[in-house]
């Protein structure tokens, strides 16, 4: 993988999200000896979704560790290792399985720095695919952005394209706090143009900052992860009808960049939030609540949300 990515170092080369995450982890593993990766099938299988391809061959058993199917156990082990000064990347094969380990993520990782009065940091990354995939049924399709986004002490990021994926995974690994990186399985194979800055070994995207992917004046459209792409497609269609959408890629769920969304809404007076999670108590609901709290009395706002259906499973809408 490393040899191949060496060939990729030309401006505006196409890099898939999978390759971008792989590059990001590879660079950070090389940069800091304390970084290591553990999870199911991350080593000899090259990753269940091949995201860690080549890393075990390059770094060996000490740095790339295959675990038994024991989410609560290995997540706890990862958190303990972080407390003792290492910098683990803990992969959940999908975030649905992180529910088995969620106590370690929240109670052992997120809350510890606060409870210890600032004595015990936990520099850990939890990463893996989140949300719906293609026909994997109810138990394998849940979006955890709202669940993890709820908790102080945690940082939660949700990359959309390759640039996001590489910049955010590197920032997450270098961050001294527990960071949840919500990837998307259907995005892994999607290629994007990689700007030249993204090829630098120190390319970082700051956690806590959203990006305006498309400027517009009539309506603010806010999304994270794969839906960002859908929003941009929709914006192109709407543009032909004379409606200019401002599409905001959240990039970070927590701490949320509400300022960017607020500034946009002040301009457009219309907001629609788009996400792959359930609407009730979701990311869009939080954005709406914050905007309502923050806007001045003179502003008129129309809000709508586009979510996953309120059913346990996932349903692909027919095109109409």
């Amino acid at each position: 993988m490393a040899a191949v990515s060496g060939l990729m170092r030309r401006p505006l080369e196409q890099v898939t999200v999978r390759e971008a995450i792989n590059q990001g982890m590879d660079e950070e593993l090389e940069r800091d000896e304390k970084v290591f990766l553990l999870g199911e099938e991350v080593a000899q299988y090259d990753g269940a979704y091949k995201v860690s391809r080549g890393l075990w061959k390059k770094y060996g058993d000490k740095r790339i560790i295959d675990t038994p199917i024991s989410e609560m156990g290995f997540a706890g082990i990862a958190v303990g290792a972080a407390m003792a000064g290492l910098r683990p990347i803990c992969e959940f094969m999908t975030f649905n399985f992180s529910m088995q380990a969620i106590d370690q993520v929240i109670n052992s990782a997120a809350k510890t720095y606060y409870m210890s009065g600032g004595l015990q940091p936990v520099p850990i990354v939890f990463r893996g695919p989140n949300g719906a995939s293609a026909g994997v049924a109810a138990q394998h399709s849940q979006c955890f952005a709202a669940w993890y986004g709820h908790c102080p002490g945690l940082k939660v990021v949700s990359p959309w394209n390759s640039e996001d994926a590489k910049g955010l995974i590197k920032s997450a690994i270098r961050d001294n706090n527990p960071v949840v990186v919500l990837e998307n399985e259907l995005m892994y194979g999607v290629p994007f143009e990689f700007p030249s800055e993204a090829q630098s070994k120190d390319f970082l995207i700051p956690i806590g900052k959203a990006k305006i992917e498309r400027q517009g004046t009539h309506i603010t459209v806010v999304a994270h992860s794969r839906p960002v792409g859908h929003c941009l497609e929709a914006a192109t269609v709407l543009s032909k009808e004379g409606i200019e959408c401002e599409v905001i890629n959240m990039r970070t769920i927590r701490p949320m960049d509400i300022e960017t969304i607020e500034a946009s809404v002040m301009k457009t007076n219309h907001l629609i939030t788009v996400e792959g999670g359930w609407p009730q108590f979701g990311v869009g609901a939080e954005i709406c609540a914050r905007i309502m709290e923050g806007i001045s009395e003179n502003l008129v706002l129309e809000y709508s949300s586009c979510n996953k259906q309120c059913i346990p499973g996932h349903c692909i809408e027919s095109k109409s």
Partner: protein, 390 residues
């Protein structure tokens, strides 16, 4: 001779400070050390166990006595402060279990690591924090070791990872700390403690599996005080041989009321781990005098007679004291003197813990994230903001 000395000592103690009685006591000939027989440990998957005799030096003995007495008095003071409502919230006391925390510490180095559950005040002390910092944390004041933000269950020190509130969660954490020890290539081990109640948690078995697979230098230690809250071991576990529950992990069952037994077993276990053989399991059979927590009188699920019997026959401080006095390692007066000093230390600490102010409200939002620039945290409504610094 002894009576005369005692009489003179008493008189002098009354009129002057310590030095006089110290001189008198020091002029007695104490033994430098003594050899004691200790109970043989039950073994699981081990050919040999810890030795059945051990040498205790006078210096070590006095130190262990002082430490155990300090933990005892500190816990009793916490009980008192709780009943006065100066300590609130959770408070789980470990009086009766002093031989565990002091004995374990005696068997390891300060560079080794230790993690335990919520009955943690004793370990917080033996791992190096002062009684002052501990009591002030219990009373929630700024002089507490976690600045008053952690409380009874969340105290941290160097190489001591708390203090953990979720039963059993600390065990995979401990295995992770052991992984870091191995990763760093240092000769360090991690003592990972849990109770008889926690021993039935699934994540502990996950931790056993990975620790054994990867040969982590982890000493799993079950502090079996016979009751998980109010459920006795017979009512909770299909097998109460906790030292065997690690299955493929070798184990020993240790008399947790005898500090020398605990010390020897710990030395044995630590040597095993340091040699790279992988994890080992110790079950310490011990007893708590208090109920599970301050809201539990501790007598609805066990009899007062049982508690009294343990107190009179197996009290760890009494056992050490008897040994030392009978082997001429120390005198009764000398140990009483230590008692007096300890009481004073605890009293001073309690004064501090009662008088110290609470952390300022402005700092409510501090320490949410590490190493980050300051930011604002929402308060109870959108117009209340707290500053957060790392």
């Amino acid at each position: 001779m002894r009576k005369m000395l005692a009489a003179v000592s008493r008189v002098l103690s009354g009129v002057s400070q310590k030095p006089a009685s110290r001189v008198l006591v020091a002029s007695r000939n104490f033994a430098n050390d003594a050899t004691f027989e200790i109970k043989k440990c039950d073994l699981h998957r081990l050919e040999e166990g810890p030795p059945v005799t051990t040498v205790l030096t006078r210096e070590d003995g006095l130190r262990y006595y002082r430490m155990m007495q300090t933990v005892r008095r500190m816990e009793l003071k916490a009980d008192q402060l709780y009943k006065q409502k100066i300590i609130r919230g959770f408070c789980h006391l470990c009086d009766g279990q002093e031989a565990c925390c002091v004995g374990l510490e005696a068997g390891i180095n300060p560079t080794d690591h230790l993690i335990t559950a919520y009955r943690a005040h004793g370990f917080t002390f033996t791992r190096g924090l002062s009684v002052r910092e501990i009591l002030a944390e219990l009373t929630g004041r700024r002089g507490g070791c976690a600045k008053g933000k952690g409380g009874s269950m969340h105290m941290y020190a160097k190489n001591f990872y708390g203090g953990n509130g979720i039963v059993g969660a600390q065990v995979p954490l401990g295995a992770g700390i052991a992984l870091a020890c191995k990763y760093n290539g240092k000769d360090e081990v991690c003592l990972t403690l849990y109770g008889d109640g926690a021993a039935n948690q699934g994540q502990i078995f996950e931790a056993y599996n990975m620790a054994a697979l990867w040969k982590l230098p982890c000493i799993f230690i079950c502090e079996n005080n016979r009751y998980g809250m109010g459920t006795s071991v017979e009512r909770a576990a299909a097998s109460t041989d906790y030292y065997k529950r690690g299955d493929f992990i070798p184990g020993l069952r240790v008399d947790g009321m005898d500090i020398l037994c605990v010390r020897e077993a710990t030395r044995f276990a630590a040597a095993y781990c340091r040699s790279g053989k992988g994890p080992i399991l110790m079950e310490l059979q011990t007893y708590r005098y208090h109920g599970h927590s301050m809201s539990d009188p501790g007598v609805s699920y066990r009899t007062r007679e049982e508690i009294q019997e343990v107190r009179s026959k197996s009290d760890p401080i009494m056992l050490l004291k008897d040994r030392m006095v009978n082997s001429n390692l120390a005198s009764v007066e000398e140990l009483k003197e230590i008692d007096v000093e300890v009481r004073k230390e605890i009293e001073d600490a309690a004064q501090f813990a009662t008088a110290d102010p609470e952390p300022p409200l402005e700092e409510l939002g501090y320490h949410i994230y590490s190493s980050d620039p300051p930011f604002e945290v929402r308060g109870a409504n959108q117009w209340i903001k707290f500053k957060s610094i790392s």
